[in-house]
């Protein structure tokens, strides 16, 4: 039975799971959740995901939520543990990178994206650039530390690609998006941080990520037609 991911190809946390699945070569089936109709807050849905969020996984009856936990599970249960280092020190540096993404990247990137992208797209708001540039400044300060780490290692968690790198892709990519030409956006390939630029260029070029973005475009086009 196919592994089902309940969510949306356009949603960042669902994309975090999808890019991992594709990189691991694990086939998954996306089951759409009707966000507009608040399906994720229905009594039925809350039985599976008590926080009323997307995505969640249903693997032959085994239910799991939280995108980063789902990604780890896909690796362990279906991906031979790939993208998660095994040696004690290597695993520690990987876990350090996982925590860095969660604490130093995600909070700032997600607020930045909410202001500049999701607000305009989904709520018709105008970005408050005071808020957005504040978040960008905070994020850029963190990226100075990334620059140091990526001067030592090829990837954030060591010299091999790991889940920690992939986890940055959804919000990172949205943070670099410009809804209109010339709109302010984060530049993750800024030459003043050459190591970050090198790392970002590499992970954002992964075929698995390109595929996720292509599927997002298909989903977006379908909505525009409807």
């Amino acid at each position: 039975m196919a592994i089902k991911i309940y969510g949306s190809a356009m949603a960042t946390c669902t994309q975090r799971v999808l890019v991992t699945a594709k990189q691991l070569g694990v086939p998954v089936e996306v089951v759409g959740v009707d966000f507009a109709a608040k399906e994720h807050k229905s009594a039925e849905y809350l039985k599976k995901h008590p926080f009323g969020q997307i995505p969640y996984l249903d693997d032959d009856g085994f239910i799991l939520f939280e995108s980063r936990a789902i990604a780890r599970y896909l690796s362990a249960a279906h991906g031979d543990g790939k993208l998660v280092p095994k040696g004690v020190k290597e695993n520690a540096l990987f876990e350090q990178a996982i925590s860095i993404e969660n604490n130093d990247f995600d909070p700032h990137a997600s607020k930045l994206v909410a202001e500049r992208i999701f607000g305009p797209l989904f709520r018709g708001t105008v970005p408050d650039e005071t808020v957005a540039s504040q978040k960008q400044t905070e994020l850029e300060a963190k990226l100075d530390a990334y620059e140091v780490i990526l001067g030592k290692y090829k990837y954030l968690g060591g010299n091999e690609l790991t889940l920690a790198d992939l986890f940055h892709l959804p919000y990172g990519t949205k943070a670099t998006l410009q809804l209109k030409p010339g709109a302010p956006a984060l530049n993750l390939e800024d030459p003043k941080r050459p190591n970050v630029a090198r790392w970002w260029e590499e992970i954002s070029s992964l075929p698995a990520w390109k595929e996720v973005q292509a599927e997002e475009q298909v989903a977006v086009a379908a909505i525009k037609k409807a």
């Binding site: 926080f51 876990e95 860095i100």
Partner: protein, 226 residues
């Protein structure tokens, strides 16, 4: 050579490592970092922790930061993986709980802790109760979901105690205690959520936690006197 943990007992992230070390019966030497005088932003500190934060661990030359990564390392390297389930599904439920702590608990309790306790304690600020109550309302909604999970399992990550439970203790305990008698606080033993109350009583009664908490309270009382 004894492991060195750089930081201060006042810091919740430092306490997160310490409670795990004590629970696992591991000896660590505390090296105090002079937070008040900005030592954590010094060039020496930044060489070890490029984000300028505490804590970091030094284990015979191996440097690691991010409290949750350090905790995982201590378990893997010195305690045979205790507090981290090994079975694939059990491990997935644990990782789900670890994510829940970071996404659904930490962002809210940290604001409560800083606004109502650390602010007054360290900066003589007056709590913004409008902000704090808004965060508390959000946290309470999350705790309704915790209530569901903790009805199914004894702990957040399954029927055994895991790191995910311990990770809640530092900020949770600060947010759950009134700064002064009569001050507003988040009641994690609220009888309207009996499963959360049961769980919180259980984990705050752990000897390892009591030891960390009493050390913290000792230092806090010297702050309050001065």
């Amino acid at each position: 050579m004894v492991m060195k943990l750089y930081g201060t007992i006042l810091a919740t992230c430092f306490q997160r490592v310490l409670v795990v070390a004590k629970y696992l019966d591991l000896e660590v030497e505390v090296v105090v970092v002079d937070y008040e005088n900005g030592e954590h932003k010094s060039p020496e500190h930044l060489k070890k922790q490029p984000f300028g934060q505490v804590p970091y661990l030094e284990d015979d030359g191996f440097v690691l930061f991010e409290s949750r990564a350090i905790a995982r390392y201590l378990s893997a390297k010195y305690a045979g993986g205790k507090l981290i389930p090994k079975g694939v599904r059990e491990n997935a439920i644990f990782e789900q709980a670890a994510c829940i702590e970071q996404a659904d608990f930490d962002p809210y309790v940290s604001v409560l802790a800083h606004e109502r306790v650390y602010g007054p304690l360290m900066y003589s600020s007056v709590p913004d109760e409008k902000l704090a109550s808004a965060q508390q309302a959000k946290l309470e909604a999350k705790l309704d979901a915790y209530e569901t999970i903790l009805a199914k399992y004894r702990y957040l990550g399954g029927d055994d105690l895991t790191l995910a439970d311990l990770f809640h203790l530092p900020y949770g305990a600060v947010a759950a205690s009134p700064y002064q008698p009569g001050s507003p606080f988040m009641n994690l033993e609220d009888p309207k959520r009996p499963n959360v109350a049961r769980w919180w009583k259980d984990i705050t009664s752990l000897p390892a936690w009591k030891a960390v908490r009493s050390e913290f309270e000792g230092v806090v009382s010297t702050f309050k006197k001065s």
